[in-house]
């Protein structure tokens, strides 16, 4: 499956990926409204770790055997057998955050429920990749989980 890979040698710690992820997961899809007025406030599904010297965007690996799915107590976290995308169903998630604890990559974000990357639900190019100004995020086929 196609996955997002972070290339830390080109990550410049601008964190625009976070801004555009948050916008892509908002109701309005408008960057200013998503950040300033929308309630409940949308949540970015990936986050940049590090500082200007070394940084990279942590995002879901969409593992072949996802620990978060195994850990989920309600069946909210599922891996789509066709696309391979791991999605958290917000209707079923009760916010126990077992997935947050289970994820070996720290890629699930804790909130009132769990939030995680959905690869922009089948968009040709996820928002973070599309808007990275330095191609530090790439979306390619054939790579491994890591």
């Amino acid at each position: 499956m196609k996955r997002i890979y972070a290339r830390e040698q080109y990550c410049i710690n601008c964190r625009l990926c976070e801004c555009f992820c948050k916008t892509a997961h908002s109701v309005s899809k408008d960057i200013i409204k998503a950040h300033k007025t929308e309630k409940p406030e949308p949540v970015s599904r990936l986050f940049v770790e590090g500082d200007n010297m070394l940084s990279f965007a942590v995002n879901c690996r969409h593992c072949d055997k996802p620990a978060c799915v195994e850990a989920c107590i309600t069946g909210a976290m599922v891996k789509d057998p066709e696309t391979g995308i791991v999605i958290n169903n917000s209707e079923r998630c009760v916010g126990c955050l077992s997935c947050v604890l289970a994820c070996p990559y720290g890629a699930v974000k804790a909130g009132n429920i769990a939030y995680k990357c959905d690869l922009c639900r089948g968009e040709e190019m996820p928002a973070c990749v599309k808007n990275c100004p330095n191609r530090a995020l790439i979306y390619i086929e054939g790579g491994s989980e890591r």
């Binding site: 990550c11 410049i12 710690n13 964190r15 960057i31 200013i32 191609r135």
Partner: protein, 499 residues
């Protein structure tokens, strides 16, 4: 107390700002500050150099950089620039330094020269329908060519270098610019069938894949020069002078000599890299001839040897000497050429415009029957393809561009190269800044620029009814001056518009 008035002012549209803090993290000059307690964003306008990194990276286009509205009392004589420079010198007691090119309002002759086009007779040519040649061969040409009875060439040709277009990237050393910037230029040159120039910094091992499109420079500090280095380049260039700072050497401060630069330049880490003003073994044309032939001998006469000089008052006589010293190529660098660092007074007051120097040198070499013995490369602020066409019509075989290529890669001409804090990852060795320049993206942008200019050159040639760049070279009848004095027209060797 700081006497300086900020040059720029940053306006933040608070209705649009989402406080993502990208501006804070991206500014190496520490203009943008985020308040630790409130998260509010403020600006230290005095630090702003108008590099526009923040305005470009801001996802909501919140920021505007304006000229500071707070002004000194106006004077045509005591401009704010001169006042600020005195404040700065009174503070430091030092020589003022700056980067990039001469910003003073001297005449720009390119803008006072007009091109011809064909009408009715000698019809114009459509480059999209008919072949149009911009391929250029650089190197000394023989006086005559002889063939044997089978039509085979008998004359032994001096080494020639083929360029797919008459534009090359001029010298920018590893040290003055980042490795990522050099890699981008090298890859663009390779893609477009032209050359890049290592500058006086040696050839970094990561640039080895691009050695076939490298001009290797030998300058007064001899940094990075070895037999292998000379063997790798397509052309060897002896740098005598640079248009931005004629008569001045170079000084790369020790703090920029990191492990990589040290290895490539072959000097210890942390030592200042000082290129003396003169070559200490060249005090005459005869001495220059010795170096030219030493380099030819060292490379088995396989490569053209080029000599680069700054455009100065006696360029024509000097160029004649260089041609007689055995150089295959003469590079003339005009006073609007860029630099990674130069004393402001030198940059702004020394040298002459490339247009005048080029016309004078071409004329002199022709009158002494030396023109075909050398290729002539013009440099020093070719801003667009029309400048290139005019330069070739004034007598250049090809041109060098550097500032234009850097602009293609993000440079906003803020003239702070000498500070080493380039926010665009070009004129810096700081790893957090260098990685901002991704060669995958920027090589393509530089290549796009070359491709675009080459298309435009073909359009202009076609309009003139010419189908080959060779027919344009030195073809001053294609040029007319506008608003120039008779003396200027005489030096340029062109007629006035309407004549």
């Amino acid at each position: 107390m700081n006497f300086l008035n900020p040059e720029f002012q940053i306006i933040r549209d608070k209705d649009r700002c989402i406080k993502c803090g990208a501006c804070v993290r991206q500014c190496s000059y520490e203009v943008h500050v985020s308040d630790k307690d409130t998260g509010e964003l403020y600006t230290n306008d005095i630090n702003c150099v108008a590099c526009h990194r923040c305005t470009s990276i801001c996802p909501t286009r919140t920021l505007t950089v304006k000229k500071n509205e707070s002004v000194y009392r106006e004077s045509a004589n005591w401009t704010s620039d001169y006042i600020n420079q005195i404040f700065r010198q009174a503070e430091t007691g030092g020589v003022l330094l700056s980067g990039m090119s001469n910003p003073q309002p001297y005449p720009i002759y390119w803008d006072k020269i007009l091109l011809n086009a064909s009408q009715v007779t000698n019809p114009s040519i459509d480059p999209l329908r008919e072949p149009m040649e911009t391929r250029t061969y650089i190197g000394a040409k023989p006086d005559k060519i002889e063939f044997d009875s089978n039509g085979k060439l008998k004359t032994k040709m001096p080494p020639q270098v083929k360029l797919e277009m008459p534009i090359m990237f001029s010298a920018m050393s590893f040290g003055s610019i980042s490795l990522n910037a050099q890699k981008s230029l090298a890859a663009a040159a390779q893609q477009c069938g032209t050359l890049f120039n290592t500058g006086e910094g040696g050839l970094h091992e990561e640039l080895m894949p691009y050695k076939d499109c490298a001009i290797v420079q030998v300058a007064s500090g001899r940094f990075g020069v070895s037999k292998e280095y000379l063997d790798m380049g397509r052309i060897i260039e002896i740098k005598i002078g640079q248009g931005a700072k004629p008569g001045i050497g170079g000084h790369l401060p020790g703090e920029k000599i990191n492990e990589d630069v040290s290895k490539t330049r072959m000097i210890p880490i942390g030592t200042d890299a000082i290129s003396p003003a003169p070559h200490h073994d060249i005090y005459s044309i005869e001495d220059l001839r010795q170096l030219v032939y030493s380099l030819k001998e060292a490379t088995n006469y396989q490569k053209p040897v080029s000599v680069k000089i700054a455009a100065v008052h006696n360029s024509a006589a000097i160029a004649s000497g260089i041609a007689r010293a055995g150089a295959d190529i003469i590079v003339l660098d005009g006073f609007r050429g860029g630099t990674g660092a130069a004393p402001v007074r030198i940059r702004d007051n020394v040298g002459i415009p490339i247009e005048l120097a080029l016309a004078a040198v071409d004329e002199r070499l022709r009158s002494e029957s030396l023109r075909s013995k050398v290729s002539l490369i013009a440099a020093g602020s070719f801003r667009n393809s029309a400048d290139v066409v005019k330069g070739i019509a004034l007598g250049a075989d090809a041109v060098y561009i550097a500032s234009a290529a850097l602009i293609a890669m993000g440079c906003h001409m803020c003239r702070q190269c000498h500070t080493g804090k380039c926010n665009w990852g070009i004129a810096t060795q700081r790893s957090d800044l260098v990685k901002r320049l991704n060669p995958e993206i920027m090589s393509q942008r530089a290549a796009n620029l070359l491709t675009a200019w080459n298309h435009e050159i073909k359009e202009m040639l076609g309009g003139m009814g010419i189908n080959s760049i060779d027919s344009l070279r030195g073809n001053r009848l294609m040029l007319r001056g506008i608003g120039l004095s008779q003396k200027e027209l005489d030096i340029l060797g062109i007629k006035h518009a309407g004549e």
